[in-house]
């Protein structure tokens, strides 16, 4: 836990109050016995069992001792015992908790089972049991409370250790020959420190209360020693004569217990869910122009002009990972967006689909998606308008499916929400769409959960979900990055077919320019939150921007010369908070000169091709475009004299026709509801 996080925990008002209280208690624990220790023992035969007087504000006990002083002095003993019990609990818990990691598989499992059994045993019962074993008294109570808490602490440690032990860096250390004990000390414990600190703090509060309970019952501290619990017990005997005698120690217990627990909770909050701080965007950034309505470019499905996505920066102010993107996608077009990770590709897509995170601030000179200007409208309205017109396909469909809902129902949900179809009809349509994207045995598959699907199958299902209505724009964000080449090819072909059949526009985001080149007609290259080049796929060999050219050159293919080093791009993309003034690529560009201190805008370098560079390259690139020996075009040769086996009917089977529900009487849509 970093220093900042501690500070954040203390900045939280609850945390600050709790910490303040604990400081006061700590000071009392140190000084009270020194200042008033003797006075609290002084018996005053003249003032036995008194109520509140000016001399004894909280009265006296049966021997005439001042109750206020005794409560104050008892702070040290009460806190000390609670902390001691906590320490025992933590030490025993950590030892038991890491044991499975140190021991072999079998012995480890035994320890885990034993701990689980102990956790199931009621804590108080355990404490009473130990109190009997260790004898009645402070020592027995400390051991009892400490050991009673140990199993649940041990389990906490075990779960956390197990989670960390599965990480690659632990495996790496193991492979490097790091011993078991060092592994625990260096890699496991430090990385689970946070939950442990939180729980130990909360545990201290619990121990304090438990201790008060035991002493109150006479099982804890024995006279002449006294703690809050014992004072409480004594006071309670005379509660009708002097209520303060019982209340004061009671309040002390509750306040101290709460202080520990609340501090633990507020640390937990800071460590765990880092509260999203929403900051008001700067007024100047308000999207005045965003509502602008324009009818130009009638065949455009997506028009974005000067699209920006900002986040509150940690040090105040705003950073713009997407910083003025212009993008136009026409109906039926396939456009690829490429760029390194962090260049703002995904965020651009999310902003377009109105799915940017809550803390993001999206502005644009103009943004129109499927004829709708979503900026400045209410969320519900945007969802209503865009829900059926834009489909998203993500890299990891597992995160976009609800894991606890059958795939068929999730697909059906889409039409039920947007088109208010009947359940049966919606489900039938879901099955139909699953068949469309070539999910085998779609009726059976529709009844399965997402985790029962393979990666490629989930991706198909995701596309099928997009096809539940008739989207005008399909945005696919790295849809094949997690897939194998053979499956990747199928998913790309599926996208192509869907595009051809439905006439939807497709925006394909990928870090792999070769993938984009295969599917798309036009390529948009992004760097540091801006578009740096835009060109037809056919002109990739004539890319003008040094960044595009570097990207193209750095991908090895099946024809790359193995004796020459691969082309690389030195350095790394600038941090969004710290972009250079002029051309953002200048620090990595071999052609940079003084002119590049001024930011270049997109300018035409050829018909259909625009680049944001002061010194666009004109020499053609050697992409070996179709002379790849052993490349895909070499199918005939690869399958040898047998010749490539002809697919029975070319193309058919990739995608069964996506029927237009309006014109197809066999569509189930007519049966379910309004068309």
């Amino acid at each position: 836990m970093g220093r900042d996080q501690w500070r954040a925990a203390l900045r939280n008002p609850v945390g600050a109050v709790a910490a303040g209280l604990l400081v006061v208690l700590a000071i009392l624990a140190v000084v009270a016995p020194i200042l008033w220790g003797d006075a609290a023992e002084e018996t005053d035969p003249a003032a036995l069992s008194q109520g509140s007087t000016s001399e004894h504000p909280l009265g006296t006990d049966a021997l005439g001792r001042d109750i206020m002083l005794r409560v104050l002095v008892a702070t040290r003993y009460s806190l000390g015992l609670a902390l001691l019990a906590t320490a025992i609990c933590v030490v025993a818990g950590v030892l038991l908790g890491v044991l499975p990691a140190v021991l072999g598989r079998r012995a480890g499992r035994l320890v885990t089972a034993a701990v689980n059994l102990a956790v199931a045993f009621p804590g108080l019962l355990l404490a009473l049991f130990f109190a009997v074993i260790f004898g009645v008294g402070a020592r027995g109570a400390v051991l009892a409370i400490g050991l009673a808490g140990a199993p649940s602490f041990a389990r906490l440690v075990q779960t956390n250790v197990a989670a960390v032990a599965g990480r690659d860096y632990v495996a790496a250390a193991r492979v490097a020959g790091v011993g078991r004990f060092r592994l625990v000390a260096r890699h496991l414990l430090p990385n689970i420190g946070e939950p442990l600190v939180v729980n130990a703090t909360v545990m201290a509060g619990t121990a304090l209360l438990a201790f008060a309970g035991l002493s109150f019952l006479g099982l804890g501290v024995q006279p002449p020693a006294y703690d809050w619990g014992r004072l409480l017990g004594e006071g309670l005997d005379r509660i009708y004569i002097n209520p303060a005698a019982a209340l004061a120690p009671g309040v002390a217990v509750v306040v101290a217990g709460l202080a520990f627990t609340l501090l633990g909770e507020s640390i937990a909050q800071v460590v765990g869910v880092r509260a999203v701080r929403r900051r008001r965007p700067p007024a100047a950034d308000e999207p005045a122009a965003a509502l602008a309505r324009a009818a130009a470019e009638p065949d455009a499905v997506l028009v974005a002009d000067d699209l920006r996505v900002g986040f509150p920066a940690p040090g105040g102010g705003w950073t713009h990972p997407v910083d003025g993107v212009g993008l136009t996608v026409r109906r039926g077009e396939t456009v690829g967006i490429v760029g390194e990770s962090g260049s703002g590709k995904s965020l651009t897509a999310l902003a377009v689909a109105q799915l940017a995170p809550d803390s993001a601030h999206v502005t644009a000179q103009r943004l129109e998606v499927a004829g709708v200007a979503p900026l400045g409208r209410a969320d519900a309205e945007v969802r209503e308008l865009l829900g059926t017109k834009v489909a998203m396909v993500f890299q990891d469909p597992m995160t976009s499916f609800n894991p606890s809902m059958r795939v068929g129902r999730q697909l059906a949900e889409v039409t039920r929400v947007h088109e208010r179809q009947g359940r049966r009809a919606a489900l039938a349509r879901a099955v139909d769409r699953l068949r469309t994207v070539r999910v085998p045995a779609p009726e059976r598959r529709a009844h399965q959960y997402p985790h029962e699907f393979s990666g490629g199958m989930r991706q198909r299902a995701m596309i099928a979900m997009g096809l539940m209505s008739t989207p005008e724009l399909i945005i696919a964000d790295e849809p094949t990055t997690a897939l194998d080449v053979t499956v990747q090819r199928q998913v790309l072909r599926l996208l192509e077919d869907v595009q051809a059949e439905t006439g939807a526009a497709v925006v394909l985001i990928s870090h792999d320019i070769a993938v984009v080149g295969q599917l798309c007609e036009r390529v948009v290259v992004m760097y540091a939150g801006r578009v740096v080049e835009e060109l037809p796929v056919g002109r990739l060999g004539a890319a003008a921007h040094p960044y595009t050219r570097a990207l193209l050159a750095s991908v090895p293919d099946l024809a790359t010369d193995r004796d020459r080093p691969l082309a690389t791009i030195p350095g790394r993309p600038p941090d969004p908070a710290d972009r250079p003034e002029g051309c953002a690529f200048a620090p990595r560009c071999e052609f940079a000169d003084d002119a590049c201190r001024v930011r270049p805008g997109l300018a035409a370098v050829a018909p259909d091709q625009r680049a944001a560079c002061w010194h666009p390259r004109t020499q053609p690139l050697d992409l070996a475009l179709d002379a790849v020996p052993g490349g895909s075009c070499d199918t005939d040769r690869r399958w040898g004299a047998e010749g490539p086996p002809e697919p029975s009917v070319q193309g058919v089977g990739r995608l069964e026709r996506v029927r237009d529900p309006l014109h197809d009487p066999t569509s189930d849509r007519g049966a379910g509801g309004q068309a």
Partner: protein, 323 residues
Amino acid sequence: MRELSFEGTTVRFGTGRSALTAVDGVDLTVPAGSVVGLVGESGSGKSTLAKAAVGLVPTTGGEIRLDGAPLRTSRDRRKLQLVFQDPHASLDPRMTIGESIAEALPGRRRRAARTAEVARLLELVGLDPARARSLPSGLSGGQRQRVALARALAAEPEVVLADEITSALDVSVQGSVLNLVRDLQRQLGLTMLFISHNLSVVRYVSDVIAVMYLGRIVEAGPADAVLSAPRHPYTRTLLDAAPAFGVALDDPVPADDPRLDAEAPSPHDPPPGCRFHRRCPIGPLTRPERTICAETDPQPGAADRPHRAACHFATDLMEVPAP
């Protein structure tokens, strides 16, 4: 550097219905000083094979040897070092990169000697030795992967196993890591098992290529030979599917045949006979007369076929004429 060999290596996970054989009798030799590239789809058992070698998963059968001597103790296994796929997960976030590297140094050394060695290793992988004191969070993915390589080299390994070490990286960074791997290999004469699902990447660094499918090696041979004259239909399918410039998706390849299964079968329940037969473009689903494929496992006898191909029809293909 020495030779690493797998002999009938088998790894099974789970019991009962959830049991699966992730690695099934793999025979593979990584000759001293050379790079063997292992390709295959995810789930084919590549990572499991590497983990079995370094002792992260127990083997159920077979032997793994270093220069003929079986690896038994963890001390033996330390001679093999594994570099992981995700450089963001493979470095302890709480240790400086210098500490992470130093931890892997064998034997006891004085502090000054350790520092000097860490500096040398960082230099070797192209990082500024002053970086030793920074935490991994301050490094980019490519830089972290260099640190991971330095840590593997710190253990003075005989063999380095690299598992998808560039697949979490941007293409622009991938190139520099591949260059580094190639340079290190030539400079130090490393023996290496280089795992990747990307054929172009494997081709760039490997002398020998082995193709894995559902837990088995289905073809292995010199890199050029395997790529230019593949003997197993699965290898050809992989080559057909690799994206390349100027190749349209529309051009159908044999694996697009709608009669074939689109995806690999579940490893819990591999098909009988040839494991590839439901996806094979020249198998029984397109040529019904080839019933042998669905009935007889082509693995026995593979050693006698070209490229040790696990295919009944590997020799039926005529020699491919030179272009």
